[in-house]
């Protein structure tokens, strides 16, 4: 892995965020909402509105507004919420923390289940374990999060009363209750990820098991188990890093729905509230933070991959 590659990937992050900022700004510009009206209410006088618009720079050309917004963003100021009057940056980042907890737990659960499932399915191709993985993967594509979430709440909270239906309790406040509230959301998010990743692990491993070097190792008298552990797994699991990183996109989308259903005050729910209230600065900040999270995760994954896979000479 050369410094050249790292530099290139870093520049790509900057470019990504630049494009995202353009898109976000463009979308919020076209929104038929008038920030001044939102701040002062429908009954404000024309003079007061005009004064505020002037004050907020809303009369300036669009590109100047963009430049000034971007300038503030670069200085760490993501703006003030039109809805609450609070600075959006800290609010969104705090919400992101809760979402990341949810996301990390989901990825953790997914890795614990998906990788063994994929391996078993590949090794015992055509057997029962393989069919189970196929079934899970079709369930994953067939059931959107809002369906699994709703059914899960119905079964485990309403009928069985094993778990609390919705809500969020910080882990620092009450650890057991906090975890109990996270179980259903984490499981719901994991289903689709498990479906996708276990299928990927399976097909990667099946490909690796058919390579010449696996055959060569078997023909040197190395046992099946050792060949699997020493030769096959490493090579099959490496690409999974990239797949998981790309799945973070799905994950963040899923987080939006799940947070809404389980009433978790994460960034997804903040965004939905902001979108429904047409709270422009909050939308801008939320989307930017989500895109940045995605880009950084993918950057880390690519670097990790390049570091682990010494074959690849990036330029």
């Amino acid at each position: 892995m050369s410094p050249n590659y790292v530099a290139k990937r870093l520049v790509m992050i900057v470019y990504t965020l630049f494009i995202v900022s353009l898109i976000v700004f463009a979308i919020t510009q076209v929104l038929p909402a008038d920030a001044a009206v939102m701040m002062l209410g429908e009954n404000a006088t024309q003079e007061a509105l005009a004064a505020l618009r002037e004050n907020m720079g809303l009369n300036a050309p669009v590109w100047q507004q963009y430049a000034s917004w971007l300038g503030h963003v670069l200085r760490g100021d993501l703006g003030t919420s039109l809805r609450t009057g609070q600075p959006v940056g800290p609010v969104m980042l705090e919400a992101l923390g809760r979402s990341l907890l949810l996301a990390f737990l989901s990825i953790g659960l997914m890795l614990v289940l998906a990788i063994p499932l994929g391996i078993i399915a590949a090794v015992r191709r055509g057997k029962i374990a393989d069919m189970i993985v196929s079934l899970i993967s079709y369930a994953g594509v067939a059931l959107p999060e809002f369906v699994t979430a709703t059914v899960a709440v119905l079964v485990f909270a309403d009928l069985m009363k094993w778990l609390p239906p919705t809500g969020y309790v910080p882990l620092t406040e009450n650890f057991t209750s906090g975890i109990a509230h996270l179980v259903l959301p984490v499981c719901v998010i994991s289903v689709i990820l498990i479906a996708h990743v276990s299928r990927m692990v399976r097909s990667e491993l099946v490909d690796v098991l058919h390579t010449d070097y696996i055959r060569a190792a078997r023909l040197k008298g190395i046992s099946r188990g050792t060949v699997l552990r020493r030769h096959a797994l490493r090579n099959a699991l490496l690409p999974t890093i990239t797949i998981v990183a790309l799945d973070v996109g799905y994950l963040l989308g899923g987080v939006i729905v799940v947070e809404e259903i389980f009433a978790i005050p994460g960034i997804g729910r903040q965004l939905i509230v902001a979108i429904q209230a047409r709270d422009l600065p909050a939308i801008q900040a939320g989307v930017l933070i989500m895109a940045a999270t995605y880009s950084i995760v993918n950057f880390i994954a690519d670097i990790l991959y390049a570091w682990l896979d010494k074959r690849i000479q990036y330029d």
Partner: protein, 543 residues
């Protein structure tokens, strides 16, 4: 069981192998009888699909699930391998019988160091600790002629050359002093000079250890150089076997005779040696260079200079009307790069003079130039569009360069010209055999009545016997059309048969151009001499 000197190390006794497929049972091997004795090399020669590799898997007991064994025995020092349990077989593999594979770049795990992959055999079968195995591994790499064994142990496969990797594979095959080793085309994936060195190593180790060797190859010439006995296999059956000398001197079967006749023999020239007037060449290439790749990102933004990969370095040569100019060189020598530059597939610097016209860049290659300069590619699978019928493939050049009337008639004529039935026009490429596809590609190239046909390794994907008939076809077409050929190949024996002059390339540079008849003269450049020496003696010279 006791082993007497007469007991062969490996004996295959009336062995048959079937595969269950969707379209019924496929008989891969039928009633095979073979024996390899201690200190002996048995060559097994066959074309693709003959079952030679299936036999190797059978011996190694590494068969797919759909394999059935209706009868026969495979005996290793008298023990029937078919009766062994999986665990017993696992203990045999690598210790009593081992294997060297065709392509060292795929048979070594790309993510484990060479040392790890060699040491694991020693740990598995000789009960050494990791440290002991590592030390022993170094000694073995030294034995297979690697100069810095300790450093090589720590290298990853991508850090070693093809020849070095194959030496490591050979070292692990010999690691536990097995009774028998199967060599499955061990030099096919390597360059000429490297493969010659690997072959020398094999002969030396074999003589030293006396291991019984089964040497599988498609190349009769190669086998005749190493093996004492040879067996010819075709469609799952042994056609003929015997001492190499007998097989070549008195082949009993037609198929063996065909195979021997098909092996290119430089002594047997297929074109006349007439001298060409060099005053008015058809093509003159002046200082043509090709560079690949873009500047790396960091270099681009920091303005640092970066080395670009050179595909060709200032190549100059000329081709006369009606001449066959051979171009030889190892992989990566820039042979194909030159062909691509001449057909507008690569940008180039320098200039090309064609039929008195100056071509400075791709833009100068107009319809008339493209009509006169045609290219045929190596893999007919890739060069024929899988979703077009043969009729559409062949009618394209007619529409572009000739008149488009009576297309069906003309397409049929073209097929007949390359000795294919007219009805093939209605087929798709995947319904044709490899040789037939290459004939279609040849017909397409000749449709525009070109003055120069560039043949880019067009025979190397084909079996020997198919190759011979394709070469014959090309030479006949040349006689009738008078076209010049730029014939690119790595097969020196073949090019010495059919070329008037031979250009030798190495790492993007043109080493020299010499008349084909003088290519083996001692006055040649050092690289050319090494190349010629490395080529296995053709079968015919064995007599």
């Amino acid at each position: 069981m006791t082993t007497t000197p007469e007991t062969p190390v490996l004996a295959i006794d009336n062995y048959s192998l079937d595969y269950d497929t969707a379209s019924g049972v496929f008989h891969a091997l039928r009633n095979i009888d073979l024996a390899v004795h201690r200190g002996e090399i048995l060559g097994l020669v066959g074309e693709s699909g003959s079952g030679k590799t299936s036999l190797a898997w059978s011996i190694m007991r590494y068969l797919p699930k759909n394999a059935r064994e209706p009868g026969g025995r495979i005996l290793l020092s008298g023990e029937n391998l078919l009766e062994k349990t999986d665990a017993q077989i696992e203990a045999f593999r690598g210790r009593r019988i081992s294997m060297v594979f065709q392509d060292p770049s795929t048979s070594l795990n790309p993510t484990l160091s060479l040392g790890t992959q060699l040491a694991e055999v020693l740990v598995r079968h000789r009960g050494l600790t990791r440290q002991q195995a590592w030390k022993e591994g170094e000694a073995m790499l030294d034995r297979v002629g690697l100069k810095t064994p300790a450093a090589m142990m720590n290298r990853m496969p991508h850090e070693a050359s093809g020849g070095e990797k194959q030496r490591v594979v050979i070292a692990s095959a010999f690691a536990c002093n097995p009774e028998c080793i199967i060599f499955d085309e061990p030099t096919t994936a390597l360059d000429v000079i490297t493969s010659c060195q690997i072959l020398d190593l094999f002969v030396e180790l074999q003589a030293e250890t006396g291991v019984a060797s089964l040497y599988i190859s498609h190349d009769l010439a190669l086998v005749s150089r190493t093996a004492s006995r040879v067996a010819v296999i075709r469609r799952g059956e042994i056609v003929e076997q015997g001492a190499v000398r007998d097989i070549f001197a008195r082949p009993q079967q037609d198929y063996t005779r065909e195979l021997i006749a098909a092996v290119p023999d430089p002594a047997h020239r297929l074109v006349g040696d007439r001298v060409f007037e060099t005053g008015k060449p058809l093509v003159r290439i002046e200082n043509v260079s090709v560079h690949y790749g873009r500047r790396p990102f960091l270099a681009a933004i920091t303005g640092r200079k970066a080395e670009r990969v050179a595909g060709n370095n200032a190549i100059s040569l000329s081709i006369n009307p009606g001449e066959v100019l051979g171009v030889v060189g190892e992989s990566g020598s820039g042979k194909s790069t030159l062909a691509k530059a001449m057909t507008g597939l690569n940008r180039f610097e320098g200039r090309i003079w064609f039929d008195g016209r100056e071509i400075r860049n791709v833009g100068d290659m107009d319809n008339a130039y493209r009509k006169d300069v045609q290219i045929i590619f190596q893999h007919p699978d890739a060069s024929l569009n899988p979703r077009q019928k043969i009729s559409e493939i062949l009618s394209r050049p007619l529409k572009l360069f000739g008149d488009a009337s009576h297309l069906d008639q003309k397409v049929g004529d073209m097929l007949e010209q390359v000795r294919l039935p007219r009805t093939h026009a209605q087929r798709y490429p995947h319904q044709l055999s490899g040789g037939e596809k290459q004939r279609v590609a040849i017909a397409r190239a000749f449709a525009s009545k070109p003055k120069l046909v560039i043949c880019d390794e067009i025979t190397s994907a084909l079996d020997v016997s198919v190759q011979a008939s394709v070469v014959q076809l090309l030479l006949e077409l040349q006689k009738t059309s008078g076209a010049s050929y730029l014939f690119i190949t790595h097969d020196l024996n073949l090019i010495r048969q059919i070329a008037h002059r031979i250009a030798v390339m190495y790492r993007g540079n043109l080493v020299e151009i010499a008349p084909a008849a003088d290519i083996d003269s001692p006055d040649r450049a050092e690289y050319t001499r090494r190349l010629i020496e490395a080529v296995p003696r053709p079968a015919g010279q064995y007599l």
